[in-house]
């Protein structure tokens, strides 16, 4: 606890204070209190950035869930030591370098890239489809990057689920789908919640993937923050942007719990 206080909350406090200061003419921080930074964020221009990022992050989360659930379910059913192996297998790709991985994706997705070549070879398409530098590419990149964050908690939850509950449902006339809808999913809910959180947060703040795969034709909050902190060197504004993002996420979380009528995610 003390540790977190020291290395997490103190720094955070520092930044919070800064978010109420002003940028010096040539960057740096001018220690004058002002609310301008937050006021500026009310501009629809910035609100659109937030909106867009949240939409993309939501889409990413959903895709991760759709892809991650069967995977986690499958792992949970494997013999014990295979479960361990699969976990490692899912992590290993991320021991390569992020940038290099992304370049690989560019190679795969670009118009004369691997994907298009293969698709045209097998005659599925006549001329290349443009995936790279579209939102589709961003989604692929984000889903790829955060899938494990979804799978792990899901796996933890499903691994605890009693097999015979599913049989009981089948015995009570539940078809495959309703067995999933009515029994498996609700029982895995804590895992789902945790997974969604772990995926949503980082993808809402992501900025390199959107730049490289999305062609940087638009901005995400992540880009804005990074841009303000590094390029413009307007730390106060950058901090303000970050805190508003945080606030939004927290609010969303709180709303979810309220709606769920639950006290905390993993309960």
């Amino acid at each position: 606890m003390a540790w977190m206080g020291l290395f997490f909350f103190l720094p955070l406090l520092l930044v919070f204070v800064i978010s109420f200061m002003m940028r010096g003419t040539y960057g740096g921080v001018e220690w004058v209190f002002s609310l301008d930074n937050y006021a500026a964020l009310l501009d629809p221009l910035y609100l659109r950035i937030y909106l867009r990022s949240i939409l993309l992050a939501t889409a990413t989360t959903l895709l991760c869930l759709i892809l991650g659930f069967p995977l986690a379910y499958y792992m949970a059913r494997l013999p014990a030591h295979w479960q361990a192996v699969w976990m490692v297998l899912i992590m290993i790709p991320f021991w390569t370098n992020f940038l290099v991985r992304t370049y690989a994706w560019i190679f795969i997705l670009r118009s004369e890239g691997l994907l298009n070549t293969v698709l045209m070879e097998i005659g599925l398409i006549s001329q290349p489809i443009e995936i790279l530098y579209t939102d589709a590419a961003i989604l692929i990149g984000l889903v790829y990057g955060y899938l494990p964050f979804m799978v792990l908690p899901l796996y933890a939850a499903l691994e605890r689920l009693d097999r015979s509950l599913v049989e009981a449902a089948a015995d009570l006339y539940a078809t495959g789908w309703s067995r999933f809808r009515r029994v498996i999913l609700p029982l895995a809910k804590p895992g789902v919640a945790a997974g969604c959180l772990l995926v949503f947060i980082p993808s809402v703040g992501a900025f390199i993937t959107p730049d490289l795969l999305g062609g940087a034709r638009t901005m995400m909050v992540g880009n804005l923050i990074q841009h303000e902190f590094l390029v413009v060197r307007d730390w106060p504004f950058g901090s303000a942007v970050s805190f508003v993002l945080m606030a939004m996420v927290m609010a969303g979380l709180w709303g979810y719990l309220r709606w769920e009528g639950r006290s905390w995610l993993w309960r």
């Binding site: 740096g28 670009r110 062609g215 034709r217 901005m219 590094l230």
Partner: protein, 335 residues
């Protein structure tokens, strides 16, 4: 062998001195360092940064312990203003004598008090002569609808606005709101043609034929040429950005003497020739050009034609106007 602890503690003077050099990746290679180490008995530790902003963030953040760094022109002026640099003692850097005269007095460091230019280059247009039949001589080509989806721009607000401003006959250091506003409108008009804004991998894209026109640094284009011979590089007639990475001594350096000697060493003709051949960045040392490989010397992406020189302009800090750029840039992205 870079030590795996943070330097300052170690950079004590004495028998085996250590010099901490903070620079772009690949700017120096082992042999060069070995040469210096052999000569001085000092040990050189190299750390690399990925952008001037990172360099500044670090130094400003108080990451002490570095002796020599290689910031780009505009960053030098910022660092000077922030008082992060130490004055140079040119007496201890005799090799400044061999610098190209036109590089000796620069807007961001009048009278060379803080920085000596090291490597320099230009920001122009790399294009595929197989696709773009008539070699373009104007930035306007980046507005040519025929190349819709075949254009890449740098992902850098100053450079991108620089292109528009230049095309409109302004300075790329323009601070007049009206001009910036107008530039923004032009760029918005261009946006549909642009495939991607990237500062990272347009060399890949050029080489792979993904784009036929790339707004970018000469060095990168030069690299791409090895892969795709039909690639060319041009500095448009409206002029372009010239950049120079300079060598500076940091104020917090505990070893200024050694630092000066290191700078002097890097400027040595033989060393510089080696560097230019390897990196394809023009050297500030005027003797180098005649001694590098022909294909480097004759490559306009490395050494722009003499006549282009007076069309080149340095990028300088625009002060509070940065807010205008910033705002316009955001709008450009969000439209």
């Amino acid at each position: 062998q870079a030590p795996t602890t943070n330097g300052p503690a170690r950079s004590g003077t004495g028998a085996a001195q250590t010099l901490y050099y903070f620079t772009w990746s690949d700017y120096v290679d082992r042999e060069q360092l070995a040469g210096f180490e052999a000569r001085t008995g000092a040990r050189v530790v190299v750390d690399t940064f990925s952008s001037n902003e990172e360099l500044l963030a670090k130094i400003q953040g108080g990451a002490g312990g570095y002796d020599v760094a290689a910031p780009s022109d505009f960053m030098v002026s910022i660092m000077v203003r922030e008082g992060l640099l130490a004055e140079l003692d040119l007496a201890r850097i005799p090799n400044v004598a061999s610098l190209s005269p036109w590089l000796s007095d620069l807007p961001f460091d009048p009278a060379q008090r803080y920085a000596v230019p090291y490597l320099w280059g230009t920001v122009g247009i790399g294009f595929d002569s197989a696709v773009v039949a008539t070699p373009p001589d104007s930035w306007e080509v980046l507005w040519d609808p025929r190349y819709r989806g075949k254009i890449s721009m740098l992902n850098d607000q100053r450079e991108v606005f620089g292109v528009a401003l230049r095309a409109m006959g302004h300075s790329l250091n323009e601070t007049a709101p009206a001009a910036i506003e107008q530039a923004k409108r032009r760029l918005l008009a261009q946006k549909p043609l642009v495939k991607t804004y990237t500062s990272e991998n347009y060399d890949n894209l050029l080489a792979a034929g993904e784009v036929a026109l790339a707004h970018g640094w000469g060095g990168a284009v030069a690299r791409a040429m090895d892969e795709r011979p039909s690639l060319r590089y041009v500095i448009p007639r409206e002029g372009a950005t010239i950049w120079a990475d300079c060598l500076v001594v940091l104020r917090t350096s505990r070893n200024k003497d050694l630092a000066m000697r290191f700078i002097n060493y890097l400027l040595e003709t033989d060393v510089a020739v080696h560097t230019t051949n390897r990196l394809r960045f023009a050297s500030a040392n005027r003797e180098v050009k005649d001694r590098v490989d022909a294909r480097v010397r004759q490559n306009p992406a490395v050494y722009p034609p003499e006549d282009a020189r007076d069309r080149l302009e340095w990028m300088v800090d625009v002060g509070d106007a940065i807010r205008l750029y910033d705002r316009a840039w955001t709008e450009l992205k969000m439209r």
